[in-house]
């Protein structure tokens, strides 16, 4: 790891002042679970590391008829989010995803903001020896190389899958992400926060180098039932092979509308609008869920070694729908 200056920012203002517009020069650190490994592998060699653990750690879930949205501070630890009873009740899909990230140790230091902003796990990106597209190189090595964990959607020049577990259920719950920067603050729908490689190669979201995520706002919709279903190679200390969140707005056992979002299958969380259409107005049964899952993967374009992920995510979608509807058998 290259030596760096450490700035301990106790508040948002100090943190912003310590960041700079040039990419990679100054970086924020919260739990550091992703950043430190990037630095140890010389993927990032910042001159300045800015501690932002002082950002808000609030979890506010208002109740009652006027309750509009819940607020989660960016520095909230994943373990705290997973354990928060009111939050878990209101947004089971998000809490479930938070509870499965990494390991207990990682969840005890990893934060919500850090989970959203982590860099891809692609082994070519992570290996110092490969100058891939994301590192200014000319090609994506996954195309002719090993790609069993790479993207099956998106057809982008870079074939990473987005590593965030929280991003997928947050999009399904139509969350908004608060971003602050030198010119003030803005709110970005979670679905628009993440960007495809053809729009931005050197990052995976809309953040500029001198901007910070400070909080996440999630609309409270009492009729929505949600669940996340992850399929993992290894049950802990790993990322899922593929996963899905279903957020169903139900009348009785009939779906009025829904949000189906798939994870670890594309460079950004991948919304399955075809599945949402297939579900609309239907009573949830196993056959209906499978039909929606078939629609979700109809446009998949697997690479040479990741065809199995189509089946894996199809199952994840089916089971997320059934789980949200309370129909998943153990």
């Amino acid at each position: 790891m290259k030596a760096f200056a450490y700035v301990n920012a106790t508040n948002e203002k100090d943190a912003l002042a310590a960041l700079v517009p040039e990419r990679g020069k100054a970086v924020p650190i919260a739990g550091g679970q992703d950043l430190l490994s990037l630095m140890k592998d010389y993927i990032l060699t910042p001159e300045r590391v800015v501690n932002v653990k002082g950002l808000p750690t609030t979890i506010a879930v208002p109740v009652g008829p006027s309750a509009d949205y819940a607020v989660v501070g960016a520095a909230t630890r994943l373990a705290d989010l997973a354990a928060h009873e009111a939050f878990r009740k209101a947004f089971p899909a998000i809490a479930e995803a938070a509870a499965e990230v990494g390991t207990p140790q990682i969840r005890n230091v990893g934060t919500v903001g850090g989970n959203l902003c982590q860099r891809p796990r692609c082994w070519y990106f992570r290996n110092e020896e490969f100058r891939c597209l994301k590192k200014g190189g000319a090609r994506c090595f996954a195309v002719e190389g090993e790609n069993q964990f790479h993207a099956i959607f998106g057809d982008a020049p870079c074939h990473i899958v987005h590593p965030s577990s929280l991003a997928v259920p947050l999009i399904a719950h139509e969350a908004r992400i608060k971003v602050v920067g030198p010119s003030g603050e803005r709110e970005v729908p979670a679905a628009e926060f993440f960007v495809m490689p053809d729009r931005k190669m050197y990052g995976e979201n809309v953040l500029e180098p001198n901007e910070l995520v400070t909080e996440v706002r999630i609309p409270i919709r009492p009729g929505v039932k949600s669940a996340t279903y992850e399929v993992r190679y290894k049950q802990s200390h790993d990322w899922p092979i593929a996963f899905a969140t279903a957020a169903l707005t139900m009348t009785g056992d009939t779906v009025r509308s829904s949000r189906i979002v798939m994870g670890a299958v594309a460079p950004v969380p991948w919304r399955a609008e075809a599945a949402e259409k297939a579900l609309a107005g239907k009573r949830v049964t196993e056959a209906v869920a499978m039909g929606a899952a078939d629609a979700a993967v109809a446009e998949a374009k697997p690479m040479s070694g990741n065809g199995y992920k189509v089946q894996v995510v199809r199952t994840a979608v089916t089971r997320a729908i059934l789980k949200a509807a309370g129909l998943l058998k153990a």
Binding site: K234, Q235, H237
Partner: protein, 812 residues
């Protein structure tokens, strides 16, 4: 000759006091509290830190190396390259094809090219970036079949057989005739991917060159003696001026049983700079250093009668060796030689070829050379059982090799508890009411294996003992054991303490063990081939039985009684009735300690402490001590290679594994493993169970997750513990360790190995359990969701009568 004495299986003083108990390891508390000193904990005054520049090319000629800028960097003391350490070495005398730093060319990505010693690691790393190496890339061989088919340019120049590292062809009986007459022949291809050891402690070495001209190297090695020899050869320093010490070690599993670049580099840099030098590999460097399990492509034909009796086995094996020989010669033999138990078959032939490739070199990993063929054969045996509609445990029973016999390839078998291992796992798992009867998606599988307990092959041929120890008997009542054995976590130091305390009738804390220091300890060949307990144990008993009569005689003469009336128990010497009414262990009982009155003292019998006894003996016979040694009997078949795989005893294992298979995601969950292992005698049942559980865990991991290989660019696919998946506690099945004791006539008190054998059956048993669960045969490791889904698809298509198309996008 004492080193070939057989000491018997009985307790030395009538009943065992320490052996057979769940005792703590001697270093357990130090490790648990963090007090243990590992190599990286060593910090010497003025010590420099060294780092290695590694090749970015899989195969290239080195045109030039320019280190001038690196040498000018502040804090840099020395830079060395291959020209400073040009002497070749290798663990086997016949295949010395490595150099500490590349000379002339590089043969895999990650091969050491240059090393820097600097005031700290940052300065050394900065210097590495200033070394300019000009390479001329050559064609990289990443596939063993390609490197066997062509060798222009060759990976190693000047070899008459191109890229062939080793070829072995051995035949026993007329296999072709046997298979032609067999009622059923199963023929198939099996693939074992590569895996690596992933020990928690990365390799580390510290070199010190004293003013007296003595070179000391501390290293995280499991073979102190061979490192000692290799250092003398490569550095051109007489062996008597080199001292090698293995400090506490954080796991090895075979991954620290070669001499490695860093040991030579720290020694050379210490001699060059006059300062102590340390080098600690990063995790990434450990992955490139490798020496892990060889990938093997195996074709097996197995024939049997209608009743399920094996008549012949024919194997063709292609081994992907990586860039250097390492133990490859042995691996190539082991791949065939170790299959000939626990089942008898009258005819056998194997043809195994190890190919050089431009990848990190493979070597020995827990169950060296035999885990891969065992996987193939046990899956094939299961297929034979289902074809013949015979219960898989029953077919194994019908082919038992038995005890005190000889295998088809001429290996002597002594004790053999395999039949009981099968009984035990069958009973414990409720096999009869559950196998073949669980709901779809859940299944059970069985597999068996045999493994060497030490080997009569001493790596460099020599007539000297393979294991030797020395005892120092102190008038304080302490016995110090000096043993060259390498404790790599398996507990060899602990076993030494238990055995000496048992033999000399001492309390455990009266025995301390000094190990793996070439200045202090007699030569032991090291921790490999599951040899330490068996060989060092015998050497310890040998030494104790030389010195014990002197102490007993001194006490007997002092009391003026017959020596048969002198008994040592837990550090107290007591006078027995005349004649002894019962064995001492029963007569005394309790936890007698030196200095305390044993219960018998009240009855008026004479007694003294062991320290007093030692003083009597020292006054009578002068300074007390003894050496002990062990050597294997003459073993092995009478043909070239017939001694490779010949062991003084063999351990036997059977596993039953229960799995569940999620047919919609392709995920296999290993629910439980019942492990029955014949270890001869469990000297410490807790340590034996630990080895059994650890072995089974590692086997499950290799079957389901672990994969070590380079990608299409010659680089390691994921040189980190995130990308190299090892199960955590969450992924670890329930493990039931069921110890079977066959009391081997030649093992120390009957003991055999327990550290490697219990790994083997886990992998085929999982494949066999998956067949029971969902009806697919998995023959290519590892069993990933992609492979399971593809096999399920193929099975479905076959059932529907349509040819099986490849799963879209292939299967991984």
């Amino acid at each position: 000759m004492a080193s070939r004495d057989i000491h018997g299986i009985d307790a030395p003083w009538g009943a065992f006091r320490h052996v057979g108990r769940d005792l703590r390891k001697v270093d357990g508390l130090a490790k648990a509290t963090g007090a243990a000193m590992y190599t990286d904990d060593i910090a010497l005054p003025g010590m420099l830190h060294a780092k290695t520049l590694r090749s970015p090319h899989a195969h290239a000629r080195i045109r030039s190396i320019d280190a001038a800028d690196a040498l000018r960097l502040a804090g840099v003391h020395a830079v060395i390259t291959g020209e400073h350490l040009p002497v070749t070495y290798g663990i086997l005398p016949w295949t010395q094809d490595e150099t500490a730093l590349a000379v002339g060319k590089v043969r895999f990505v990650g091969e050491p090219v240059a090393a820097v010693a600097a005031v700290d690691e940052d300065a050394a790393n900065a210097a590495l970036k200033l070394i300019r190496v000009e390479y001329e890339p050559l064609h990289a061989y990443l596939d063993p079949f390609e490197s066997l088919a062509r060798h222009d340019p060759p990976i190693h120049e000047g070899r008459k057989d191109g890229n062939v590292s080793k070829h072995v062809h051995l035949a026993f009986g007329d296999v072709d005739a046997a298979l032609a007459e067999a009622d059923v022949v199963i023929e198939d291809d099996y693939v074992f991917h590569g895996t690596t050891h992933a020990a928690i402690e990365p390799h580390c070495a510290v070199g010190h060159y004293g003013a007296d001209g003595v070179l000391t190297v501390w290293s995280s090695t499991q073979i102190t003696h061979y490192v000692h020899r290799a250092l003398a050869r490569v550095l051109d320093v007489p062996a008597h001026r080199i001292r090698v010490i293995q400090p506490c070690l954080g796991g090895a599993f075979g991954g620290k049983s070669d001499p490695f670049s860093l040991e030579f580099v720290v020694a050379k840099l210490a001699m060059t700079t006059g300062r102590p030098v340390k080098m600690l590999y990063t995790r990434e460097e450990v992955f490139y250093t490798h020496r892990g399990r060889h990938p093997m492509h195996m074709r097996y034909r197995t024939g049997a009668t209608r009743e399920g009796r094996l008549v012949g086995v024919d194997a063709t094996i292609v081994i992907d060796g990586g860039a250097y020989s390492s133990y490859g010669l042995v691996t190539t033999y082991y791949a065939g030689q170790l299959l000939t138990g626990p089942y008898a078959f009258a005819t056998y032939r194997f043809d195994s070829t190890r190919a050089f490739t431009n990848k990190p070199p493979c070597g020995p990993k827990r169950g060296h050379g035999s885990v891969q063929p065992r996987f193939a054969f046990e899956v094939q045996l299961d297929e034979l059982a289902s074809t013949l509609e015979i219960d898989p445990i029953e077919i194994r029973r019908r082919n038992l090799l038995g005890e005190h016999t000889t295998t088809v390839n001429g290996q002597r078998i002594t004790s053999n508890g395999f039949a009981r291992c099968l009984d035990v796992v069958e009973h414990a798992s409720n096999w009869k009411t559950r196998h073949g009867q669980l709901p779809f998606g859940r299944g059970m599988g069985v597999a068996g294996s045999m493994y060497i307990s030490g080997t009569n092959y001493p790596i460099y041929p020599n007539p000297m003992p393979q294991a030797a120890v020395q005892l120092k008997i102190d008038r304080s009542g302490l016995v110090t054991v000096f043993t060259g054995a390498n404790d790599i976590g398996q507990g060899s130091n602990s076993i030494a303490q238990y055995l000496v305390a048992e033999e000399l009738g001492l309390a455990l804390d009266q025995v301390r063990v000094v190990s793996a220091d070439t200045d202090l300890c007699p030569v032991d060949l090291g921790a490999y081939s599951s040899r330490e307990t068996f060989m060092v144990g015998n050497a310890l008993i040998d030494a104790c039985r030389k010195v014990r009569p002197l102490v007993v005689r001194a006490v007997a003469d002092h009391w003026q009684v017959d020596p048969s009336r002198v008994r040592f128990v837990d550090g107290v010497v007591v006078e027995l009735d005349d004649p002894p009414l019962q064995p001492a262990g029963v007569a005394v009982g309790g936890e007698a300690r030196p200095g305390a009155s044993p219960p018998d003292a009240a009855a008026g019998r004479r007694w003294m402490t062991a320290a007093e006894a030692f003083q009597l003996a020292e006054a009578r016979f002068d300074t007390l001590g003894a050496t002990g040694a062990y050597n294997t009997p003459t073993l092995g078949g009478d043909y070239r290679g017939g001694t490779i795989g010949a062991a003084p005893a063999y351990s036997f294992t059977a596993h039953v594994v229960e799995v569940s298979v999620d047919v919609e995601t392709g995920r296999i969950t290993c629910e439980k493993v019942w492990i029955a292992h014949d270890c001869g005698r469990a000297l410490n049942p807790m340590l034996v169970a630990g080895q059994m559980e650890g072995s089974a865990y590692m086997g499950v991991a290799e079957a389901l997750m672990e994969a070590h290989g380079v990608n299409r660019f010659g680089l390691h696919a994921g040189p980190s513990l995130l990308d190299y998946r090892i199960p955590t506690t969450v992924d670890t099945p329930e493990l039931a360790a069921l110890i079977v004791e066959s009391l081997d006539p030649e093992g120390p008190y009957g003991a055999k190995e327990a550290g490697e054998g219990p790994l083997h059956p886990a992998i085929p048993a999982i494949s066999n359990a998956v067949f029971d669960a969902v009806g697919i045969r998995l023959k290519h490791l590892p069993f990933t969701p992609g492979k399971v889904l593809a096999a399920l698809r193929a099975r479905k298509d076959a059932a529907a009568g349509t040819p099986a198309p490849a799963l879209a996008g292939g299967a991984r």
